[in-house]
């Protein structure tokens, strides 16, 4: 009897769940969605109403004045001697080539100035009252949202106290990262007033999706864009579009300068600090080249053990998900890939680019690239001003050859710029002894540009009009769509895949459809290499063993390298101090309390060395200028 009741209850529950989940109506294929739904007809769209407090620039400036960022830095990086080095007054670190500050308009710590501004903005503080109020009696209370990471809770506690001293009350929410960074929750839905997170800076700063007016996520654009603040400054917006669509670096520097000036004036996002990063290694290990923008293992071939050992051990808290760059963006995976060199034909040290497999960077100055004038006619596929490949038709906005924004009238041809770039490669040999061929690059384009490959982006593929593969040399020429003016045009878009490789079922890799690539061990676990090392063994959950690639053209100092997966930073540090691992990169060591342990050990025993530097990642507080 009980069983029957239980069964009925279970079935009812299942039925309820199924019904609730299948709320979407059934419709025949091709049925058009009903026009003018409820959301569209009921009042203003979400996030188009200015925030009653934060839309006032004086309040935003006051917030920036009131936050003692050096104290915030000291709270999370007690071991950093000069915290001021991590301070930022722009969205770029001071060492970046596009930074030409200082940008003094961005308020730095001056609580008195902050209080005066708040008074001016109508938020006054009665004697003895903890919180400021306005004439209407509303309190100056703001919601602050960030992740539950201890690091952020620590610095935000100092910030909350700073703001309380200025009469601003903060209600913090420390949400799980899965909610805050979820694809349909938190930040993606602009569900914050003040929101803290980090951006990872890049060698080529980009930033269009962050600061352009057309990148403000709204229900009406299906939440597209990353301008979560809702910042639309026409000058800055135009400049960021120019900066990301101009080939000459000096022009880009000027454009980025404009954006940074406006960014500082409007205070829509407060750069808190550049994150510190620490990496540590055994004193027995030499050849490490710490860098903010390049993976440490990029020069692994030069690493050596002073005691003559033949095996370097690198500790990582994460295990790579795949060694195929197309589907993996993990740092752990990149660290291995850079050692086996199957990902890029170039490197990016010190916020700049250098060649690796390419013979030289294919810049306009090198003669390998040309920026031709072409006439774009109706029906041609071109890049529009939003950076999308579109058919040229009446009303489409494009940049003409002089970089002016023009609207196509449907008839008159538009003179546009078209990049034609040749990428020349040095000869190379795969780790199975097969010489690299141009077919390997051709295969890379076929697979990387196939929607079934599992790649997350096809921006590069979609920007290409045609590729000419050389019949007798290791080079290919890419003709980009008219209007494509990608600043990094000189970097080869495709790195080679071993087209000759035979997989376990007897097929040759060139014959395997892209949809299967992510499931092939020959691609994801034991890829062939053209770099200094190749994968010898991958013991799941334990280690990846590399050995020197006998066909590598250059020198390899240490023949064996083993990446071990240690799960936990404490464990990784213990392994380093015990001499079981030789190197911990910044993604493993991080910048938490464990760094102090390493520093103490370095000072007391001298067995380990460390490097602490400002990373390309920067914490900031975005200010939502609009309210739901």
């Amino acid at each position: 009897m009980k069983t029957k009741k239980f069964l009925v209850l279970a079935l009812l529950t299942i039925l309820a769940l199924v019904v609730s989940a299948c709320a979407a109506p059934a419709a025949a294929p091709g049925a058009a969605p009903a026009a003018g739904g409820e959301a569209a007809s009921s009042g203003a769209e979400e996030f188009t109403t200015p925030h009653p407090i934060l839309s006032d620039v004086k309040v935003r400036q006051a917030l920036a004045y009131c936050i003692d960022r050096e104290a915030l830095i000291a709270s999370v990086y007690p071991y950093v001697e000069d915290g001021a080095e991590l301070l930022m007054d722009s969205f770029l670190p001071k060492t970046h080539w596009a930074y030409v500050g200082p940008y003094t308009d961005l308020p730095m710590y001056d609580p008195d100035a902050g209080k005066a501004l708040l008074d001016e903005a109508g938020w006054t503080q009665a004697d003895g009252a903890p919180v400021r109020t306005n004439a209407a009696g509303d309190s100056l209370v703001l919601k602050f949202t960030t992740t539950s990471a201890q690091f952020r809770q620590t610095w935000s506690a100092v910030m909350i106290q700073n703001l309380a001293d200025c009469g601003v009350q903060i209600i913090p929410t420390y949400a799980p990262a899965s909610w805050w960074f979820g694809d349909t929750t938190g930040l993606a839905r602009r569900d914050f007033e003040l929101g803290a997170f980090a951006w990872v800076g890049q060698t080529e700063p980009a930033g269009r999706s962050l600061y352009a007016c057309d990148q403000i996520p709204l229900p009406s654009n299906n939440w597209e864009g990353q301008n979560y603040m809702g910042w639309c400054n026409e000058t800055a917006s135009k400049a960021i579009v120019q900066a990301t669509n101009t080939l000459l670096r000096e022009d880009r520097v000027a454009a980025y300068d404009t954006v940074q000036q406006e960014f500082a004036k409007d205070v829509v996002s407060i750069p808190v600090f550049q994150r510190a990063e620490a990496e540590a290694w055994s004193s027995n290990l030499t050849g490490i080249l710490p860098d903010a923008t390049e993976y440490a293992t990029t020069n692994l071939a030069e690493w050596a053990l002073a005691d003559g050992g033949d095996t370097i051990v690198i500790g990582m808290t994460q295990e790579p998900d795949s060694l195929w760059a197309t589907i993996s963006s993990m740092a752990a995976s990149a660290l291995v890939r850079m050692a086996i060199d199957n990902e890029r034909t170039w490197t990016q040290y010190d916020y700049d680019f250098q060649v690796r497999l390419q013979t030289e960077l294919s810049t306009l100055e090198s003669g390998l690239a040309a920026n031709n004038d072409v006439e774009a006619n109706a029906g041609d596929t071109v890049y529009n001003t939003a950076g999308e490949p579109v058919a040229l038709e009446e009303g489409v906005l494009v940049f003409d050859k002089d970089n002016n924004e023009v609207t196509f009238d449907g008839a008159t041809a538009v003179p546009m710029k078209q990049l034609v770039v040749t990428y020349k490669m040095n000869p190379f040999t795969w780790s199975d002894g097969t010489p690299g061929t141009i077919a390997d690059f051709e295969l890379a384009r076929t697979i990387d540009c196939d929607p079934d490959s599992g790649a997350t982006t096809f921006t590069t593929c979609e920007s290409i009009q045609d590729v000419a593969w050389s019949a007798d040399a290791l080079e290919y020429t890419v003709t980009y769509l008219p209007g494509v003016q990608t600043p990094t045009y000189f970097l080869a878009p495709f790195a080679p895949y071993p087209s000759q490789r035979v997989i376990s079922d007897g097929r040759v890799l060139v014959d395997v459809p892209a949809a299967e690539w992510a499931t092939l061990p020959e691609v994801t676990e034991m890829p062939l290499s053209w770099g200094p090392y190749m994968v010898k063994e991958w013991n799941k959950g334990q280690s990846i063993v590399l050995e020197a690639n006998p066909y590598y053209e250059g020198d390899v100092t240490t023949p064996n390298v083993i990446f071990v997966f240690v799960a936990d930073t404490n464990q990784a540090v213990a392994q380093l101090l015990n001499g079981d691992v030789d190197y911990l990169d910044d993604s493993t060591l991080g910048a938490g309390a464990e760094v102090q342990t390493v520093i103490d050990a370095a000072n007391s025993t001298g067995n380990v060395q460390y490097e602490i530097s400002g990373s390309a990642t920067w914490e900031h507080i975005d200010i939502n200028l609009f309210t739901k």
Binding site: T3, A10, I14, A21, C22, A24, P25, A26, A28, P29, P33, G36, G37, A39, A40, E45, P176, S178, F181, G182, D183, F197, W199, S209, Q215, N221, N222, E224, G225, T311, E319, D321, S322, I327, S328, E388, G454, T456, T457, F458, T459, A515, E516, A518, T519, T524, N539, K540, G541, Q542, I562, V566, A567, D568, Q571, A574, L577, N578, D580, T605
Partner: protein, 393 residues
Amino acid sequence: MTAYLIRRLFQMVIVVFVVSLFMFFLFNIAPGGPLTGLQQQQRRITPEEKARIRAQYELDLYWPVRYTRWLVGQPQGPLVIGGQEWFANVPMGCYLEATPEEGGGCADYVYLSEMPELHPPIKSSRGILFGDFGNSTVVQAGRPVWDLLASRLMATVELQVISLVLALVIAIPLGIYSAVNQYSKFDYTFTTAAFVGSSMPTFFFGLLFILLFTVLAGRAQEVWPWWPTLPPGLREAVRPYDVASWLRVQPGTPLDRFLHLLMPVAVLTIFSVAAWSRFLRSSMLEVLRQDYVRTARAKGLVERLVINKHALRNALIPFITILVLQIPIFFAGAIVTETVFAWPGMGRLYFDALNRSDYNIALAFIYVTTILTVVATLLGDILYSVVDPRIRY
């Protein structure tokens, strides 16, 4: 008994089904997922791009559809009967949502007829009921979940079996001795120690041991080179290392494996011994107060026989419940201990899968653990009737 077994088996099937359904549903409504952080890459992501990426993880399908595909590998496409397709136009999910201006709802449904093209069999599971756990989506993207589980299983079994045997060997005599000598100095000391042992989280002991036997021992070794240190983690070393000036260990040797096992086994054993011995002590105390024990003593039996033959056997009966529930742990592992000691076992894999929203691994893990738990419970009930003739089903 046969009727009882059939009834229990039927109940077990329902329990496993309901658990799997609820877990699937909970993962579906929990925030986050494989697309977490996509917006944090500093580049433009159009709704179309997002839709394509969602579809890679089958997130474009309604969750009951995903559930049945995960459970039995269906539906894979329209039903074909007599050469005619049925239900081809039934929507199975929403590929692209419409904006409010477009009226909201779904702009592009996924119809059953489109399933073979959008979600080809090569990328989907044949169904967990048929032994296909599907592919990992994040932890080892694209690789079979079963391969991952298999690669970790032995490490967990090794750790758990050794610590279980050790814990039993230590906990049972301790519990008995403590009960028999109730209120003695030993009993007080043991009770306090067991209380501390079971109260402290395993990561505390884990970190404490690493600090003592690796970090501080390493410092001591600098002064006294003969002083031994223990490897702080992993299952085996990857290159030769010195435990002390008098002992160099080669990787992968039995000695190397033994040294790597010491600390994680010790932590798990301490925890189990503390909990089990206290349990056994109270069970034993209860039995020792029974009339039949008094009778045994009254008729002149030697104390050893009274304890071992009469009391212990009955005191162990409730202990069966605890023991059989260890069976699922052989599979599930010890999440915290494995993580602290970088032990490449199932617990660490599960922790990683949950952290990184690899639902196929997490679900497979929960599914197998659920089955083992219900089987273990049944086994416990059967064993009860074997060891205690008074129990009849």
